[in-house]
Symmetry: C2
Subunit: 409 residues, 2 copies
């Protein structure tokens, strides 16, 4: 039976107020997927009778719905409980340096409508966010819904975030955004929405944790390789931010004291030597030196090269391109080996624009990592491209929103 | 009024069984020190009436005692509640590569009796641990107590530990200990004790967290510099172990692909280049080359040099010794900068035998760290020698034991 997705009107906020144990039921289902009453009783370590009572009230208030039958353990097949998807809408917003992704989702995190477009974050935040709100309005209109039906918005931004107030601190890419009140700005347009803001790599790590290859993992790293290099950290099952919200700033790890000067002022930072622009610059140099017919032709055609061009050249068997990619992978893998010795994660997921340039990069990263991390810390380690790909950020935004939609009494 | 410390006999295990909320009261007091009923009500977010009921029962069963008066918030001064120190004894055991430290403590973690001696872990674990049990028996006898009064033992060992079973995995320093059942071995001698085993740097980090400069901090690193270099990580207020219990293995981070071969088989590991033996070897070389009269005299006197000798030389103004120490500090600080960019801790505490060689090492570590970590991640960062010094391990062992003495129903 296909599920009906009714258009949701204004939300009665009292529905979203939960007792602590009800919140624990929601968390359990979000972590494990639909559960039976017996599963919940075991998971929460509460009696079957208590769980039945709690679940009964939650079905009555509309927070839970019965979602088909589970496997029988002998007797009658148990009903599975899931979050009611139609309690309201949430929105994930992934603001990249040069792109904007927005998705409207239901309360189970299923994407209903999505929009992606090029963008430029260097301008005024009120103008940029006004446009974001217009995009959300447009998605709502296509869904036949009103702004007051949005109860949560999760926003990822490409810069350091002070999480509680949700403001950017000294963001190098978008200086005009420093301290801008993103939360209250969006609340003016979506008055029923709780807004949360986080760093782009943190929301990608969250997306991977909730809905990607990181599901069920307690400790992993998500590395984004694009114009810069950053990483999101999951520790004890939660986003790890560090003392100043600065954790994961791996792009400015020094790999060569005599290396080129980075935009941060230091020499030999990983990102100035190995990220997208370094790959592109190396390719232009090799094209100019006559070392790659493919890259020279592409350069002549387009006037400049990108990391994606280098990936295309490598895919066609171009030796110079393959060397450039292997060199970047080796540098990134060398840093990763250090981080793995320290952090011993269960997995490393790699995303961002440069992750799209082919398997050669991943293979070089893996080799360099395994060569220098300890045997014990790599014996179960997975190093993989993010299966969510370009959507990791917007999916993470949706889950950041969902984290905040219920209010615990 | 001085507190009486009665000799404790065999423990009634039912006293140590707690309801979940009672366990939360214990945790709150351990984190914050003695608390009033109002403090507890606020901290636990439970009504004053509920807290009064819970606390009343816990005083009756003997888990809590009233411990003097707190500050008045206007009216009568509130009674403070603390853990009853006399519920039983716990023991902290810190096994180093060449030393053994054992301490007998009460239920508040106060050390009652302590013993330290040189030791050699390379032999048979049953013999070594049999001796540890004898040392504990001796401390108990001096206290006038019986083995059945010991309800918790926390053991730190210098090697990788699989925490739940409490066994060592492929320990390079003590291969005969691989898989040895430390817990059941000690339980035979102390039948009422719950035994927990952890890596030496993890217990040092735990000691610092519970009773040292790390109190109240959620995220910090404890680095031990001795024969090797290792680190314990506190994340979200708890020991972070990683996927395979291998987190914190920073001694084998590569700092020079062409460096000397480490005992792990790789080249240029941090510990082979910067730890105690490297400092001693550099000093012997400089003494042999006639570059330090102090070191040459000490070498002639003792036949070999240690890191402590180099510290003595540096304290006397010896230039070669100072250069050796600064070089080690620079290498360690370089790695630390990388870890700080990734992990953004609130503090880094440095302990272990080599930490005792003077301020020059700390100063060099700080300089190198601040030079290459990002400004944001160091703006509130403290880098300090561990104030617990040599006792960090045994204090951590006591707290590891205390973590496990109550059983949650």
């Amino acid at each position: 039976m296909a599920e009906l997705l009714p258009v949701i009107g204004q939300i009665d906020e009292s529905t979203l107020m939960l007792e602590p144990l009800e919140a624990a039921v929601v968390t359990a289902i979000r972590r494990q997927g639909p559960l039976s009453r017996s599963d919940l009783s075991e998971y929460l370590d509460y009696s079957r009778a208590s769980v039945t009572g709690i679940v009964g009230r939650m079905i009555q208030t509309g927070v839970l719905t019965e979602a088909g039958e589970g496997k029988s353990a002998g007797g009658r097949r148990p009903f599975l409980l899931d979050i009611n998807p139609n309690l309201g809408y949430v929105v994930g917003v992934d603001i990249g340096a040069t792109s904007l992704d927005v998705a409207l989702a239901d309360f189970r995190g299923n994407i209903l409508r999505q929009a992606s477009e090029p963008a430029d974050v260097r301008g005024r935040p009120d103008e940029f966010l006004g446009h974001v709100a217009d995009v959300i309005d447009d998605l709502l209109a296509r869904q036949g819904a009103i702004p007051a039906a949005v109860v949560g918005i999760g926003v990822g931004v490409p810069g350091p975030v002070e999480f509680v107030p949700g403001v950017l601190i000294a963001p190098p890419l978008m200086p005009l955004w420093e301290g801008f009140p993103i939360k209250s700005f969006l609340r003016e347009r979506f008055p029923m929405a709780r807004v949360a803001v986080d760093n782009d790599v943190n929301i990608m790590a969250r997306g991977e944790h909730q809905a990607g290859a990181g599901r069920g993992l307690d400790n992993f790293i998500f590395i984004k390789i694009g114009t810069g290099i950053g990483c999101g950290i999951i520790s004890h099952g939660e986003i790890y931010r560090g003392a100043d919200g600065a954790a994961g700033d791996v792009g400015h790890i020094c790999i060569d004291y005599n290396g080129p000067v980075c935009h941060c002022g230091n020499q030999g930072c990983l990102e100035i030597m190995a990220a997208g622009p370094a790959i592109a610059a190396a390719a232009e140099a090799r094209a100019g030196a006559g070392e790659s017919a493919f890259l020279a032709a592409r350069l002549a055609e387009r006037g400049s090269l990108s990391a994606v061009d280098v990936g295309d050249a490598a895919a066609s068997g171009d030796r110079a391109a393959n060397e450039i990619i292997r060199r970047s992978g080796k540098m990134i893998g060398g840093v990763l080996a250090t981080l793995i010795n320290f952090y011993n994660p269960q997995a490393v997921f790699i995303g961002g624009g440069v992750a799209g340039i082919g398997h050669g990069l991943l293979s070089a990263i893996r080799q360099a990592t395994l060569r220098r991390a300890t045997a014990l810390s790599t014996r179960h380690l997975r190093i993989e491209y993010s299966p969510l790909g370009e959507d990791a950020g917007v999916i993470g935004g949706i889950w950041l929103a969902l984290e905040n939609v219920f209010i615990i009494k």
